[in-house]
């Protein structure tokens, strides 16, 4: 850090302060789950008792699958996506459209990738629908690289991100049931499953249904055919 900084304009300082105050990065989901569990443990202890009822796990231990599969806690993440915030005062939010939810799959990851759970599935799911493991087998080459959880117009949407050796990135989002309304785009049929293709400002998204839940794969600079292949590989 340089000691001479008198030449910094007040407007520049004000802009930096505004940027700091605007940072809205949420705590990682795994940290949230750990803290929620610790608080729950503390609240179960008899009143007035002392003791270190919660042992903070070492960060490295969080990488093991056992904790990656911990029960989903209440999600307090409230990142709102662009124009999706449609909640009226005191009312229920209107369901997001599939196109709106697809925007989530293009955002940055906010937590670590879920662990492999075997049987070509990751240790992550929403409503019982698991995310696929595309790192091996016929769908090989796409490693899970991160994850995020959002609420889009009141609906939980969980996303796992995958990357291949060439640096291409795909977001795979699954919205909590029921299925989101979908319209527009281009519809193709793969293996008997209708899939809708959207162009999202230069990115591409493919939307289809698994177990009655809306699933989305999306990426920038990724061919629609590649996204259709990924969707087809986990269409049931």
């Amino acid at each position: 850090m340089q000691p001479e900084h008198n030449e910094i304009e007040p407007e520049r300082v004000a802009a930096i302060v505004a940027a700091i105050r605007d940072v809205s990065v949420p705590a990682p989901e795994r940290l949230r789950r750990t803290v929620e569990e610790a608080v729950a443990q503390a609240e179960r202890r008899p009143r007035g008792s002392r003791g270190r009822g919660f042992r903070a796990p070492a960060r490295s231990r969080w990488r093991v699958p056992a904790l990656a599969g911990a029960a989903l806690g209440a999600l307090a993440l409230v990142l709102v996506i662009g124009t999706v915030l449609l909640v009226s005062d005191g009312g229920s939010p209107a369901p997001p459209t599939a196109r709106e939810a697809a925007a989530v799959a293009l955002r940055p990851a906010t937590s670590a990738a879920p662990a492999n759970a075997g049987y070509e599935a990751l240790d992550a799911s929403i409503g019982g629908t698991r995310f696929p493991d595309w790192s091996e087998g016929s769908a090989g080459g796409w490693r899970a690289s991160g994850a995020r959880t959002d609420q889009v117009a009141g609906r939980d949407v969980r996303t796992v991100f995958y990357e291949n050796d060439r640096g291409a990135r795909i977001g795979y989002a699954i919205a909590a049931a029921p299925a989101l309304p979908a319209a527009g785009g281009r519809v193709v049929n793969r293996g008997g499953v209708p899939m809708r293709i959207y162009d999202l400002d230069g990115a591409t998204a493919v939307v289809w249904l698994r177990n009655g839940q809306t699933c989305i794969v999306a990426g920038r600079g990724v061919a629609a055919e590649t996204l259709l292949e990924r969707a087809s590989a986990s269409s049931t």
């Binding site: 850090m1 900084h5 505004a18 990065v25 949420p26 503390a42 007035g48 903070a56 960060r59 940055p108």
Partner: protein
């Protein structure tokens, strides 16, 4: 005397995590710091001596940070990843051009001397008033104002001229 509701840790987790990140300069170390703070706070019932619960938690975070500083400083810094990108919050109508990545901002804050860093974290990252910050950090409001002023200038200088000096134009805000 009011008792600290343990759920306050959950309610303020996002802010505590951001504060820890700015203190440590590393998102991974921030997670460790928050966990350790949670463990200490939950070890026994806590009473709020007339202070706001967020201010109390910041003080706990600061105490834990100072206690564990030596250990934390020995850890190697990890490179920033895509996870560290700050998303502008559309709810605030915030300036779309004001997009600096969180890891850059917090890394610059983490380079500040401790007292400056704590003042800036308390006010600009956590959102406490000068008075609350002074109470939480055990100093006077005037001291907070002075440290905050200098901390902001140093961070602005660093982000404008520091690591990017010679690498082209200053970061656009």
């Amino acid at each position: 005397m009011a008792r600290l509701d343990p759920q306050a840790l959950v309610r303020h987790l996002d802010r505590l995590h951001r504060a820890a990140w700015a203190l440590c300069g590393s998102r991974e170390e921030a997670e460790d710091l928050v966990q350790e703070t949670v463990a200490r706070v939950l070890a026994r019932p806590r009473r709020l001596h007339g202070e706001d619960e967020l201010a109390y938690l910041l003080r706990a975070l600061r105490n834990t940070f100072l206690t564990t500083l030596r250990t934390a400083s020995r850890r190697p810094r990890e490179a920033a990843t895509l996870d560290d990108v700050a998303a502008p919050d559309p709810r605030t109508g915030s300036r779309p051009e004001a997009v600096l990545e969180a890891h850059e901002l917090f890394a610059a804050i983490a380079e500040l001397p401790h007292d400056f860093r704590l003042a800036l974290v308390a006010v600009d990252v956590v959102g406490l008033s000068y008075r609350e910050a002074a109470d939480a950090l055990g100093t006077r409001e005037a001291t907070i104002a002075t440290r905050l002023h200098r901390a902001r200038e140093r961070v602005a200088w660093e982000l404008t001229n520091g690591s990017r000096e010679g690498a082209g134009s200053p970061r656009s805000l």
